[in-house]
């Protein structure tokens, strides 16, 4: 299949970008600091324990809650970096190549235009999946080895973080068949920001029991379901105790999105990808 030829080139091309290398270097730095951070947390916990024993006070805060929060912070960073990398890597992948003329020698070749779009999608997707799996692995490894803590549902959580990036990738690829690189960057980042803000408003709404605010969150997660999928991921990778202890918060949720929301998100990706193929099919280069 010719789409795989495009995918292979796209994958290799991503590593030609300084930005991707920048994210990779930062990620390694993050992984090291994160392990060190977990080490500090463990030390801190031991101090708290010693003090508590001295005071004869058995607080309700347990180590699992702290460790779980730490894992959540780590995974959120992974989720965020993967999202940023996705958008930056794919932002001009069609529009930029129309402008530069690179596509002029590819489109006349014996392959469908949809294969070009699909190939690019697969190329970026495989890069991001590898990235996310490696990063989640490093976070969980730190928790395990340094913090002696194993979060639940790591596989499901990872899949959901991948889904978050796929949502952003679909949006970015769809956008780049219509908008210029710059305009697409602005639009996608605005939507990404909107989704995050919407999720935050929903959490505050839950805290204040304000239906309007909750509805804002719901609408934003219909428009761009990236944030709600992250929140579902964060819900799953924490023990129930940690979820109820932490309560509604900027990075998580106490009310997990349903399975329907996950199905909706997958359909959202597929429809945007098909939409991108359709738009590109009829576009004059």
């Amino acid at each position: 299949m010719k789409a795989l030829v495009i995918a292979r080139l796209t994958f290799r091309e991503a590593f030609q970008r300084k930005l991707v290398w920048g994210v990779l270097v930062l990620s390694v730095l993050f992984a090291v600091l994160y392990a060190y951070g977990f080490h500090l947390l463990v030390n801190q916990w031991h101090e708290i324990q010693t003090r508590r024993t001295a005071n004869g006070n058995n607080g309700i805060l347990t180590y699992d809650v702290l460790a779980s929060n730490m894992v959540m912070l780590g995974l959120y960073t992974v989720n965020f970096l993967a999202g940023i990398m996705t958008i930056f890597a794919a932002v001009g992948s069609i529009a930029g190549e129309i402008d530069s003329g690179t596509l002029h020698a590819i489109v006349p070749k014996p392959l469908g235009r949809w294969e070009i779009v699909l190939g690019k999608y697969l190329g970026f997707a495989s890069m991001i999946v590898i990235y996310i799996v490696a990063m989640v692995f490093s976070v969980v490894l730190s928790a395990r080895l340094v913090g002696s803590y194993m979060p639940p549902s790591v596989v499901k959580g990872t899949l959901l973080i991948v889904l978050v990036s796929m949502i952003l990738l679909s949006l970015t690829i769809f956008g780049t068949t219509i908008f210029s690189t710059m305009a697409n960057g602005v639009v996608v980042f605005m939507l990404y920001g909107m989704a995050m803000t919407g999720g935050l408003v929903e959490q505050i709404g839950t805290l204040l029991n304000n239906n309007t605010m909750i509805n804002i969150g719901v609408v934003s997660s219909i428009l761009v379901p990236s944030d709600s999928m992250w929140r579902l991921a964060s819900y799953l990778v924490q023990p129930h105790l940690a979820v109820s202890f932490t309560g509604p918060n900027p990075l998580g949720t106490t009310v997990p999105p349903s399975m329907t929301a996950v199905e909706y998100s997958v359909a959202y990706c597929v429809i945007l990808l098909l939409g991108a193929m359709l738009v590109f099919r009829y576009r004059d280069l």
């Binding site: 030829v5 003329g101 002029h104």
Partner: protein, 320 residues
Amino acid sequence: MLPVAAPAAETTTAAVETFGLRKVYGDRVVVQDLTLRVGAGEIFGFLGPNGAGKTTSVKMLMGLARPSAGSARLLGRPLGDRQARQQIGFLPEMFRFHDWLTGEQLLDFHGRLYGMSRAERRRRIPEVLQLVGLPHSGGQRVRTYSKGMQQRIGLAQALINNPRLVFLDEPTSALDPLGRRDVRAIIARLRDEGVTVFLNSHLLSEVESVSDRVAIITHGRVAAIGPMAELLRRELTVELRLGAAEPDDLAELGKLVTVEHVDGARQPTVVARVPDDETIARAVDLLVRRGVPVYGVTPEHRTLEEFFVDVVGTEGTESR
């Protein structure tokens, strides 16, 4: 053979056929009505002033832009047909490649897009690199190539699949005179191999030296089309150096050819337009029979440039 096979056989002899191809962007008509036919194995020169719609025409044929109206067939198949595209090579005017690849990797990528097997690619890549004059640069990144080398690798990319039909859009724009000569040699070689070449170029001398047939388009339509020799022969100028010609002799000569001007009275030099070579022979015969000494006969074929200027006039200089 079944009788229905006859028309099919005829269409296969045409490499490119367009029927009223039209492209409108908004309310701007870029290509009005492009109707032409390029026979298999021909080197076809596609000419026209800037803004005449040449590149847009090529884009429509290459599936980069959708025709607003009309249709076309490449290698006897409708536009967009994959089987046809398999056998077509294209060097775009605005060529830019993945310049982080080496020349070989770039050709390998394009070979894969044609579905060539690993063995085929391995055999063909050094071959085309040699053909375009880059036998030792295949291992370097395209980024480090000069402009001329990039155009050569672009040409190699267009030939990687051993195409039956090649579209070259301004293939020598970045080349020096030697590079241009190389490209002419490559085109001549393609002709020998029976490949059809659709050459879009504004370099008239280049088109003139390689093309079998040309079309000149202005305002998005074909203004003139035909075999090069025929177009240029249509009007031929001849210069006759004569000795002691009487006015009567010149008057008789004037019945045969169109005398443009006569220099000198005793031994006149006559410049005349003639329809073909045959008429020159008859004119010389006439003069000799009348006893006029003919010291010299110099036929002057028109250059493509002169013909082009006649067809396009000065309108082409106004950019639209």
